[in-house]
Symmetry: C2
Subunit: 397 residues, 2 copies
């Protein structure tokens, strides 16, 4: 049984706040500052260039990838870190389209995070081969899986509503029609148990700075199914994805398996901060996280709905169809969120009217939820958003 | 006049070493550990998500880009940080090929760094429109500039030999033929004065972890000429390159000017380390760097050639045609470099026979050069490489 009091004690959480925005930027693991400082001083400072081998910086992307693999049901050697999620979307999609070259349709849904759609748009324009990005409504994705579809690309958990797709069922349906799948786990990794291998997912990508607490701009990850990676031509074929980078050949030869999805020099500082967080994750069972997350979010829904009639639940009521966040619709949501933040309840706002709250059992407990719900009630009951400066734009990402 | 004794005092340099590998990984600015630690604690730790605005993380890529711009002759608003050099090569090349869509040849040279060529290869395969990557000998580039060439893509300073291209002359020649230019400044930025605006370069890219001392995996930069950026369609169109990222539109609209070359969430830890280094760079005049670099490398060549007849100069003898490194050819170069590293002279080896030494006036002075040359003489005279374990592969990047 995961000891969540213990994990909570390992994060720096500002006094007087309830931080319900770990789905946007996870908090600082207390050990991270010293860990990064030590890496900078002892490795960068003292070992300098030799640290690439002596401090094992060179294989850090796959070493860390394997640790994340454990949290998303991916076997060793199928996950590697690097770049940003946008870049990893491009890599996965370019590879998948090339494998399924006879088909020209990419299916996604309107609940996908914009950058995934933008990167697809950009790739389609570059390829200039008549590909089409077809956006379905989230609950109609299955109906869109026709025989001409090359790739189904979805974010498992909707960043606005928290709606959870059924990865296993949709992947199976896609495969029946010869469609490859790309799953964006930005709001899944560290939020709920993901079973990539078991679901038969072809590609997955995700970021590390949300539930995985790697800090601002922490690197993304990419997963390619066992057996598939060796068939993939990386569109972004950088030198560290080369079979033998230090031969400095003029021609590219893809590295073994997932290694070929590496591109350039890995961000060692950011990866080291992530390692400090993964030390906490080592103490955690994802099934426990899920159980607690559901308890916390159900409690939150219950308290808010009981006391704030103006807030309309935007997330699925059934926890089985929800990730680890709860969203409410409210016309004055932007101002109300500002009022909440001023009172120490940190959620965020997504246009046009979504107030978003993330539940992260590693450092949020039932007492936090009760405290947050009481402050929300106070803000709503007393219309405190009326006094908020509409022009002070809150920080969001 | 730049005070190089002062700048040297601001770097952590391991005792007993002469570090001649700053062209691969620059050393640690002493202030960087505390700077990154403070950012992690006070901004990530305390401000959490609000730091994107309150600590100005969101505009860090262009703020830092402008500071690098000063070192490479780029006006404000033409440089932005992000990703890795490989990714930035891809962005620049994809954009340039689209502008010059009627032409199908990319000219580069055999002295280019492999990742630039790999990324070009990968893009050509993805585009599948009959583009060809033509590699000339470095001294025959001008002869390759025919009317069917879309893009001239060169690394200004050869990573192996230090040979320096004439950016201004080659850019002018290219433009005469309607060819766009992409300059890789990996071994130029912080090594010698670069005048991008004045040379009329169209695109430039570079990395920050060599002469600019940002630490392992620090972000790359990209420059797009004033006036050109707004005409460029970014192939890698991520959400932070969108005109209004926080509108979360489903359709991409490129941001203003260079902002559109941003892709995903910026690596704030790495950028903050870079800022600590740029504080040192603020004390520095690039013309002074160049003058000292030439003095140091000329002195090195003189001493080594006088005492080590087995080492054959691989770099241009004329400093005007050389960057800030000196390379020697030697059949047992790999083992000899191991022997040197054991004795505290840190250079590196590039297959098949290049021993490479970087000269970085910010923290290397004439005394260091004399010390290094004496140790090289000792190693060569006494054939100390014979005792080196050939199977202990040195760390290189």
């Amino acid at each position: 049984m995961t000891d969540f009091a213990k994990t909570k004690s390992l994060f720096h959480l500002p006094a007087g706040q309830v931080y319900l925005d770990g789905n946007s930027l996870g908090p600082l693991p207390k050990a991270a500052v010293a860990r990064v400082g030590k890496m900078m001083q002892d490795e960068w400072g003292d070992l300098l260039i030799t640290a690439w081998n002596r401090a094992q910086w060179m294989n850090q992307p796959s070493r860390v990838g394997d640790r994340i693999g454990r949290l998303i049901g991916a076997s060793a050697g199928t996950v590697v870190m690097g770049d940003t999620l946008s870049i990893k979307v491009y890599q996965a999609l370019a590879s998948a389209l090339e494998i399924n070259a006879a088909r020209k349709t990419i299916v996604s849904d309107t609940g996908n995070f914009p950058t995934d759609l933008y990167m697809a748009e950009g790739l389609i324009k570059s390829l200039d081969k008549g590909h089409e990005l077809k956006l379905c409504e989230p609950d109609a994705v299955e109906d869109c899986l026709a025989e001409d579809v090359a790739v189904l690309m979805l974010t498992e958990v909707d960043y606005k509503t928290g709606r959870l797709h059924d990865m296993k069922a949709l992947t199976a349906k896609a495969h029946e029609k010869g469609i490859l799948t790309i799953w964006d786990l930005a709001h899944s990794a560290g939020a709920l148990p993901v079973k990539l291998d078991a679901a038969g997912a072809d590609f997955a990508i995700g970021c590390s700075y949300k539930y995985l607490n790697s800090g601002p701009g922490g690197p993304a990850f990419i997963y390619v199914a066992p057996g598939l990676a060796d068939q993939v031509r990386p569109a972004l074929c950088g030198w560290l994805g080369h079979e033998a980078p230090f031969d400095f050949d003029l021609d590219y030869r893809p590295g073994r398996g997932i290694e070929r999805m590496r591109v350039g020099t890995p961000p060692v500082l950011q990866l080291t901060a992530l390692e400090a967080s993964l030390d906490i994750w080592d103490l955690v069972d994802m099934e426990d996280v899920r159980a607690h997350s559901i308890k916390l979010s159900n409690l939150f829904i219950e308290l808010v709905e009981a006391n704030c009639p103006d807030l309309e639940l935007a997330s699925p009521r059934d926890a089985m169809h929800r990730g680890s966040q709860v969203s409410f619709r409210f016309g004055n949501g932007y101002a109300a969120m500002q009022a909440l933040i001023e009172r120490g309840v940190i959620g965020d706002f997504r246009a046009p009217d979504i107030m978003r709250f993330g539940f992260t059992p590693l450092y949020i407990d039932a007492e936090d939820v009760r405290k947050a719900a009481a402050i929300i009630e106070d803000v709503m009951l007393n219309r405190l958003w009326d006094s908020t400066d509409y022009f002070t734009r809150s920080a969001v990402t």
